[in-house]
């Protein structure tokens, strides 16, 4: 038997995704992985938008547009972030977040 997925399933998934992303962001030491977990967060948001669009506000396009833009922006963000990380690697010879803690207090 198949379960027709409802709004709440999707929201559940997206929320889970969000927190997985957050958790990854908090725990991963590798900058790239942290970036990836941020992508997870953004995707959970996308999922939200789609879900709301489909179930609550059918016919409105705002959610979809938003999703598209989020994806685009995420790409841009990632690009800059990776550029910065590369530069960081140049100076620190590592992309481990724990090696970049000179600035404190």
């Amino acid at each position: 038997m198949t379960i027709e997925p409802g709004l709440y399933h999707l929201l559940f998934i997206s929320t889970a995704l969000f927190f997985i992303g957050v958790y990854g962001f908090f725990t991963r030491r590798n900058l790239i992985t942290m970036l990836m977990s941020i992508e997870l967060i953004l995707n959970s948001v996308n999922l939200n938008f789609i879900a709301f669009d489909k179930y609550l506000w059918p016919g409105k396009m705002d959610g979809l547009f938003f999703t598209v833009f989020i994806i685009a922006i995420a790409a841009a963000e990632a690009a800059v972030a990776i550029a910065i990380i590369i530069n960081l690697y140049r100076s620190h010879q590592s992309i481990d977040v724990e090696n970049a803690e000179d600035l404190k207090y």
Partner: protein
């Protein structure tokens, strides 16, 4: 079409400049000095132009709108950018990527313009990112320094995280209201728990940008890591822009949740002032010091915002204007000294008055203005913020704010004392300041003194309808 030109003219002018720079970059390129003076000229024109042909209205189904107040806010930001381009010219001349720097800075500025006049969460989000990502790149601008890249990393990651949270909030708002256009949302809000949650998420994004405690932690590190030009841009321009849009969102969109955000602001304002001051007490590096002091200043801005009325808006805009002059003056002096001698610590400023009286006086003026001592403009700015904050007769709140002025005075005086009183066997040698820099510093000093005493400026801001 014509309307499009007039309403979006500041954005269009900015885009024009950006493209010009792009072409110059692609083309054979120019010597830094001439290019810099060209840019400065352009920015000056842009600043002057931003006072003319200001109409109000909205475009694209109120996705974009502008009013006289917004136009004025934009010209404040223009002024700030222009001053930065003057103040940091010593450093800018040296960098090999001058056009890129301005490309990034101006596109960030463009993002802020759009953000200020955005009438729709989508535009708002896009412009927010436009205002953030280039700055992260700028933070990394002196590529050799480890600290610079570290700061940039911290900035990009935290801002990405915060924008994730913001988006989550926006998605919830969309879910609960079914609209992403700000005017519509304000009609549809009903203060259900879900919306409160969404509001908190959105709120924190602003809090992050304004570096309100406890969302402020990135600030100091990034400020210290990045080159002074970027630091000053971050601390003055982006803070100002976010403050403006923050007010708009709170006052116009989340009006149904007034009670909630009032108390939120009160709590956060106190936390921000106290924490900012306590951290600023011990700082040695002047940039880090100014970072925390600017956090404390944001606390004061929040006091003004809590007013939820015209007075709040006017006082905040007025304060930001003053803040532009004061903070940029401080950063300018720091930039000059750091550029010439590489000294960035407060202890290095000991005995500065003996060698560089002019710089010392400007710095002192700036610090007094930040501390809110008359006759500088900062006194009026702070007082109006407190007046705005007192409107709800929560006197204990103002009292806490006022008492915080004591702590802040203490650490501002630390610098003054270092400059005027302390002995130093090898003080900063006499620094030769370039005429443009000198001019910029004088402009800042004049602004610090005059903006307060020329009361019509405040009156003008107050008349701008909104």
């Amino acid at each position: 079409m014509n309307e499009f030109l007039t309403l979006m003219k500041s954005e269009l002018v900015l885009t024009g400049i950006i493209f010009l720079l792009l072409f110059i970059k692609i083309g054979k390129g120019m010597k830094n000095e001439s290019l810099l003076s060209l840019i400065q000229l352009l920015l000056l024109l842009n600043f002057i132009f931003s006072f003319f042909f200001n109409k109000e209205g909205n475009l694209f189904g109120d996705m974009f709108y502008t009013t006289p107040l917004i136009a004025f806010q934009k010209s404040i930001l223009n002024l700030g950018v222009y001053l930065i381009s003057l103040l940091c010219s010593d450093w800018l001349k040296k960098t090999q990527h001058l056009p890129e720097f301005f490309l990034l800075m101006l596109s960030a500025l463009l993002g802020m313009f759009l953000m200020i006049s955005s009438g729709n969460l989508l535009i708002f989000y896009l412009s927010l990112e436009l205002a953030t990502i280039p700055v992260a790149a700028m933070a990394n601008f002196d590529l050799e320094r480890k600290r610079s890249s570290e700061g940039a990393m911290k900035m990009i990651l935290s801002s990405a995280f915060s924008s994730g949270i913001l988006l989550f909030g926006i998605s919830l708002i969309y879910g609960s209201t079914g609209s992403i256009s700000l005017p519509a949302i304000s009609q549809l809000l009903n203060g259900s728990p879900l919306q409160i949650l969404a509001f908190v998420f959105v709120f924190t994004a602003f809090a992050f940008k304004l570096s309100i405690v406890p969302f402020h932690l990135w600030t100091a590190d990034v400020y210290e890591g990045s080159p002074i030009a970027v630091t000053s841009f971050l601390s003055v321009i982006s803070k100002g822009a976010v403050a403006f849009i923050f007010i708009t969102v709170l006052y116009k969109v989340f009006t149904p949740m007034l009670e909630i955000w009032y108390w939120m602001i009160v709590i956060l304002a106190i936390a921000t002032m106290v924490i900012g001051n306590l951290f600023a007490l011990r700082q040695q590096n002047i940039k880090r010091f100014l970072a925390f002091s600017s956090i404390a200043q944001v606390g004061f801005i929040l006091v003004g915002i809590s007013n939820a009325d015209y007075l709040g808006i006017a006082s905040v805009v007025y304060f930001v204007l003053i803040y532009v002059f004061s903070n940029l003056a401080a950063f300018g002096v720091a930039a000059v000294i750091a550029e010439k001698t590489g000294k960035e610590n407060i202890d290095d400023y000991k005995g500065l008055y003996k060698t560089n009286p002019f710089l010392t006086w400007i710095m002192a003026l700036a610090l007094f203005s930040l501390a809110g001592i008359p006759p500088t403009a900062g006194f009026f700015g702070k007082l109006f913020l407190l007046t705005a904050g007192g409107a709800r007769a929560e006197y204990w709140f103002i009292l806490v704010a006022a008492l915080n002025m004591i702590i802040s005075l203490y650490y501002y005086l630390r610098v003054v004392r270092a400059m005027f009183m302390d002995k130093n066997d090898n003080p900063v040698e006499p620094v030769k300041t370039a005429p443009v820099v000198k001019m910029a510093l004088i402009i800042c000093g004049g602004g610090i003194v005059l903006v307060g005493l020329l009361s019509w400026i405040f009156e003008y801001i107050k008349t701008l309808q909104y």
